[in-house]
């Protein structure tokens, strides 16, 4: 087992039996379900909406080169700089170069999941820049020195008491357990940061080819301020966020809001099409769009799972996943948690290192059913399992199958095994679930069925002989 798999199993074990943790997730998810399903019901036809959304993303992704070139042409015509990066390392370098060229010191960021992917904050901090996350949840996670717990709800695992302690320790503010007062503390601190910042870094939810724009979805207004006040704006975005046309947003924005948080629309859906234009009064002097591949083209090259690139990162598959609800966000050890993370991480970071996530599934299909762009998530988990074994057959597993075949081909051995097993089974109770138990992974939380006192074969051999007339009662 790889280190990642061991970490996953240990964390999952620990958190599944942590009732406070499970109760926190349950409480957050109950609020999500209560908001989402009535909102979804208001759509005249949610299912046809999903189909249209899936086809639109399919059209975008299957002509990705054409649409990216169209975006670039349109964006550049309004003075935008477009950068192309294949790896995390290249993306980090491009961003550091822009910051250095402007002699910038202070950086404010709105939510950018791709920057978690390339570990941007750690690098910028190590180079001595001040980097501040401005999304409330991300800010809390930054103070806590933890990655986001859930890629839509970054600090859903924390209580208001823990957040109050955190603010007291880092900002010296008085204790308060009022969510509004806590939010206002962050608002005051961060207002100063937007005004002072030299550079604003944002992500993007969509790239619109037709008009050379990006679209950012948010509730707090932090992305709008990040894109309004600093003199340089940098947008880091994965190449797969493409939409062919501006009007496609008329469907995608309400679907993302409904599936993500159960809102009709999130508070601010903002499309940016360039740096400050002639005649405009504010906005950055320069806008840099940094496109990141980071193995997205590896996933693109797999037609079977290509639809995983349709993902709009609404997080709905996490919210309905029985595994996520038990093991929580950190156990995954990935930037993207839950079913979508389990599907794409093996493509982005190596199948053998991350294949274990595809086994952490009950294959119930709740993720596929909830996905607003119809990604076939639970089948992709099976595809990953198949591909992992095809690429590198497990030695223990093939040994087990060989042993099983040997046994099943020799009835006398099977019979003897049963008899010995029947004698030894009472002794299993002595080691059940502990380190000496060969089957402990299964038996530590489950009971093995008892071996029947008489096998069917023995019963049949010794059955009482009945005459044809006595048959109607059936076997005793």
């Amino acid at each position: 087992m790889t280190g990642n798999a061991t970490q996953f199993q240990n964390d999952a074990d620990r958190l599944t039996s942590d009732l406070t943790h499970r109760q926190r997730i349950q409480s957050a998810m109950t609020k999500y379900y209560a908001a989402r399903y009535p909102r979804q019901a208001i759509f005249r036809d949610w299912q046809e909406g999903r189909q249209t959304a899936a086809e639109t993303k399919w059209a975008g992704i299957n002509e990705l080169d054409k649409h990216l070139a169209e975006f670039e042409k349109n964006a550049v015509s309004r003075g935008t700089s477009v950068h192309w990066t294949s790896t995390s390392e290249q993306a980090r370098q491009v961003i550091v170069d822009i910051i250095r060229r402007h002699n910038a010191q202070r950086i404010v960021k709105s939510k950018v999941m791709t920057s978690e992917e390339i570990h941007l904050n750690q690098l910028l901090e190590s180079l001595g820049f001040e980097v501040v996350e401005s999304d409330l949840g991300e800010y809390i996670q930054q103070l806590k020195n933890e990655p986001p717990y859930h890629f839509v709800f970054p600090c859903m695992h924390l209580s208001r008491e823990e957040i109050s302690d955190l603010f007291e320790n880092h900002l010296g503010t008085a204790q308060t357990h009022d969510p509004e007062a806590l939010t206002m503390i962050a608002r005051d601190v961060l207002r100063k940061k937007y005004i002072e910042a030299d550079i604003g870094i944002t992500g993007a939810n969509f790239i619109v080819a037709e008009t050379g724009m990006i679209s950012i979805t948010e509730n707090e207004g932090n992305a709008r301020l990040t894109a309004a006040l600093p003199r340089v704006m940098i947008t880091l975005v994965g190449i797969e966020k493409i939409l062919p046309r501006l009007a496609d947003l008329a469907l995608f924005l309400p679907m993302l809001a409904t599936a993500g948080t159960g809102q009709p629309l999130t508070c601010y859906n903002t499309m940016y099409g360039g740096p400050r234009q002639p005649g405009e009064v504010d906005g950055p002097e320069e806008w840099h769009v940094v496109f990141l591949d980071n193995n997205r083209t590896t996933l693109l090259a797999d037609p079977e799972q290509r639809d995983a690139l349709h993902c709009i990162r609404c997080g709905a598959c996490l919210n309905v996943c029985p595994i996520f609800k038990n093991v929580g966000g950190f156990s995954y050890g990935t930037t993207y948690q839950g079913p979508i993370g389990s599907v794409i991480t093996p493509h982005l970071r190596g199948l053998q290192d991350w294949k274990h996530l595809s086994s952490a599934s009950s294959l119930c299909g709740a993720c596929t059913e909830t996905c607003p762009v119809k990604i076939d998530l639970h089948h992709h988990l099976l595809h990953n399992r198949r591909n992992a074994v095809a690429e590198k057959p497990g030695r223990l597993e093939s040994l087990l199958w060989q042993g099983f075949t040997f046994l099943m081909k020799r009835p006398w051995l099977y019979q003897t095994g049963l008899r010995v097993g029947r004698l030894l089974q009472p002794l299993h109770g002595l080691v059940k679930g502990d380190i000496l138990d060969p089957a402990r992974a299964w038996t530590k939380s489950r009971e093995l069925p008892e071996i029947a006192p008489v096998s069917f074969r023995d019963y049949w051999k010794n059955r009482p002989l009945v005459s044809a007339g006595d048959r109607k009662g059936g076997p005793p």
Binding site: F43, E48, A186
Partner: protein, 237 residues
């Protein structure tokens, strides 16, 4: 070979094998669903979005009612005034109730007129502005491109909204709009944008504002005014 060329060549190699149409088994069961024969056909499927989105009614009166109802749910205040004079009086009443000392506005016809009628200290963002001064304003008063009944939203750009910051930095954003700026749904809002700005006059920022700034990051409990305005008021006439 540049990094751009490498990425594009990887994409083109990857796309040599087509991927199956999503959920194709599902097509054809709905009377208005079209089976796309090609990517071009699939692209036009988005124009069907209107049929799947929430209902909006057919008349302007229904749209205004829906806008008002959605605004109430979002905690946006909507004030419908009889004419421009009444709208100015409503704005003045709001200013007095909240004790505004300074406001920010821009040279947009009806927003500037209403702000001037207040007789307060004013920042006009049109000629550029000091960000600290804008931050100290009690309200930002702007126009907009349209109001969207379907979602209770305000469609605003750098041109109709006085730049990027006026509508998001002050703690109270007031939008002055005419009733005939109401559009029924999101697809019409995008049609309007194309009509107003396309294909070559796009502003650098277009935003759809749906309620005052909010967050649910702490225990999923709603708090207004996370970073943007705590209050949003639409005065319509």
């Amino acid at each position: 070979m540049t990094e751009r060329d490498k990425i594009f060549s990887r994409i083109r190699d990857a796309l040599k094998t087509a991927s199956p149409k999503p959920g194709s088994h599902h097509l054809g069961h709905h009377p208005t669903a079209q089976q796309p024969d090609s990517l071009t056909a699939a692209r036009t499927a988005a124009s069907g979005a209107r049929d799947w989105l929430p209902s909006v009614g057919h008349t302007e009166a229904e749209w205004i009612t829906l806008f008002t109802k959605n605004s109430f749910d979002l905690r946006t205040s909507v004030i419908v005034a009889a004419d421009a004079g009444a709208a100015h009086r409503q704005l003045r009443a709001l200013s007095e109730a909240e004790g505004w000392a300074r406001v920010a506005t821009h040279g947009h016809g009806i927003a500037a007129g209403a702000s001037a009628a207040l007789g307060l200290n004013q920042i006009n963002t049109d000629g550029g502005y000091d960000v600290h001064a804008l931050e100290r304003c009690d309200a930002g008063i702007s126009g907009c491109d349209a109001l969207i009944a379907q979602t209770g939203s305000i469609l605003l750009t750098t041109r109709s909204g006085g730049g990027r910051a006026l509508s998001v930095l002050p703690p109270h954003h007031v939008v002055i709009a005419r009733l005939d700026q109401m559009v029924p749904d999101l697809p019409s809002a995008y049609e309007l944008l194309h009509h107003t700005y396309g294909p070559a006059q796009w502003p650098s920022m277009i935003t759809i504002i749906t309620g005052p700034s909010r967050t649910g990051d702490i225990e999923r409990i709603l708090v207004l005014g996370a970073h943007g305005p705590k209050k949003l008021t639409v005065i319509l006439y």
